[in-house]
Symmetry: C2
Subunit: 329 residues, 2 copies
């Protein structure tokens, strides 16, 4: 695991247990490329989603680890299975420095391994979650898949509005953050109003997180680089900074996007066109406007968190929120 949780030793320990459950879930069947899938899980970064489940659960009764830890593992397995499929489809060669499954075993094995992870995740969820929460999880995954298809089909059209963009990230990142916090609280029998507030906090946290993540595509100056600059642009995606820039100077930005679209099949020649879109978006204030939107969601998340019961769990969530959002600024 990363050093992201250094300030939260209790959480880091629980996340190690979650990782162990994920590994155990791999070991329990006759699975041919077990080690390769295990190495993805070993490297899987922050484990943010299971951490949210665990924090949510701390607002409920204690002594429920036997249900909460597998549920947190299930949510992370679902996330990893989507990453495995994303990497095949994007033909990514590396994921966190490790060769992707399709690079090692071919696309067929990688898609099947993703399917297998999906099934193991649903199995863990069925074993550890209440039927209502298992259903909520399945519903969320199907909504995320639908949103991904929609996003892919909208590429290169630059038709998204600010509202459409918010709707899209609400259905993906924000819904998953929201579900993770809420499911943890619900399974640990937290009072319903607390679980509801956690749902809203997770929603706003997820919205801010995704906007900031999308801003990174325009900035190389961020302290921690999560992905190469300009990758979204080169794929024809229309994220919030670009949407703001289009509102300020639709004609000028569309001209640059048309130039970019013409280059889209020759990756080598795209860089100047991508750089031009980025520079124009920044100079039109698109990134600053997006950052203001993110700040608004951050403030809402903080307001929800402030109204949670004053417990160590609230402090933990508050610390996570500021660490997560500040390190991306």
């Amino acid at each position: 695991m990363t050093d992201f949780w250094n300030d939260s030793p209790g959480l880091a320990e629980a996340l190690s247990s979650v990782a162990a459950i994920m590994r155990e879930s791999l070991r329990s069947t006759d699975f041919p490329i077990e080690d390769a899938v295990a190495s993805i899980i070993e490297s899987n970064g922050k484990m943010l989603r299971p951490a949210l489940v665990l924090i949510g659960a701390r607002f409920g009764r204690g002594g429920m680890e036997s249900r909460i830890l597998p549920l947190a593992a299930a949510i992370e397995l679902l996330h990893v299975s989507t990453l495995v499929h994303d990497d095949v489809l994007d033909e990514a060669e590396l994921r966190r420095g490790i060769p992707t499954l399709h690079t090692r075993f071919g696309a067929k094995e990688a898609v099947l391994a993703g399917d297998w992870l999906f099934a193991r995740a649903f199995l863990l969820a069925a074993e550890s979650a209440s039927p209502a929460n298992a259903k909520a999880l399945a519903r969320l995954v199907s909504a995320i898949c639908a949103a991904e298809i929609k996003q892919d089909m909208d590429k290169w059209s630059y038709s998204a509005s600010r509202r459409g963009y918010f709707r899209k990230i609400a259905g993906k990142t924000a819904a998953l953050f929201s579900l993770a916090l809420h499911v943890g609280a619900a399974e640990a029998k937290a009072p319903a109003p607390v679980a509801e507030r956690l749902r809203r906090a997770g929603y706003n946290l997820g919205m801010a997180f995704q906007i900031l993540d999308d801003i990174l595509d325009f900035e190389s100056s961020a302290g921690v680089m999560r992905k190469p600059v300009g990758r979204d642009i080169a794929e024809g995606l229309c994220t919030l900074p670009l949407i703001h820039a289009l509102r300020v100077d639709e004609h000028g930005v569309r001209a640059l996007l048309s130039a970019l679209s013409r280059e889209r099949d020759g990756a080598a020649q795209m860089e100047p066109a991508v750089a031009a879109v980025i520079a124009r978006t920044v100079s039109l204030g698109g990134v600053d406007a997006a950052r203001r939107d993110a700040a608004r969601f951050t403030a809402r998340a903080e307001a929800e968190i402030a109204r949670l019961p004053a417990t160590p769990a609230r402090d933990e969530l508050s610390r996570l929120s500021s660490r997560l959002l500040s390190r991306l600024y």
Copy 2:
């Protein structure tokens, strides 16, 4: 639906309800390529797996349609989602005469649509099955994915033994047939010994069905063509007829397989090499020996069915078994 169920009007009607639930499950979300996925479901042939769920349920109490029909739909959706992914990975252009999703929308959309179907299927299962059966379903799907990966990695090695082949099809087709009959019976609260017998009947029926399906790859004389002859061979698979042929004349057959392997990257040139393997397998009695194995599983399935309570449901299962297995002979 096909005319396969003409002799079973009650079942055909229930299967129409299952298809309606599948369509409804598609309509309930904001899914961009809904019509295309619906057309796959409209064309989905025999609906054998949901039929087994429905027949199994008839050994239990009546009046449980509200749970049984969605469960049958969930099992068929799982099956369809694996077909969608198979078609992307095999680059198939048509499925039952309809252009495949990846042909119409690209590989990314097709993989995501398969994921979406998976999630919808698990959602339906979580809504309609008992937790134990929902888990059994998730476990089965993960086992099938693992078996598929193993099969793909074993391609061109021709290392399978008869026992290894039986184990493989036991974990795929037979496990699914077995689960479908058993789950239907269990959800409809059939007596446990009856549900257990249905599980064994389904297992043997599935084994016979898969062997006969694999035999079709060697025969163009079959009354109904399910797939082009020689496709398995051209993909480097080692099914039961070939395993038998290798036992009779390992040296001669391996020489033909080596010649085939050398041609594997140039599809146009493969046909004579494939034809040579098929002709040799048939002349060595590999197909006849495989057919004898299938007949043994068929006899076992019939023996289990004969010992079920003498009800219209038993007659239905018996008719299905002989229709299914005879039309493939």
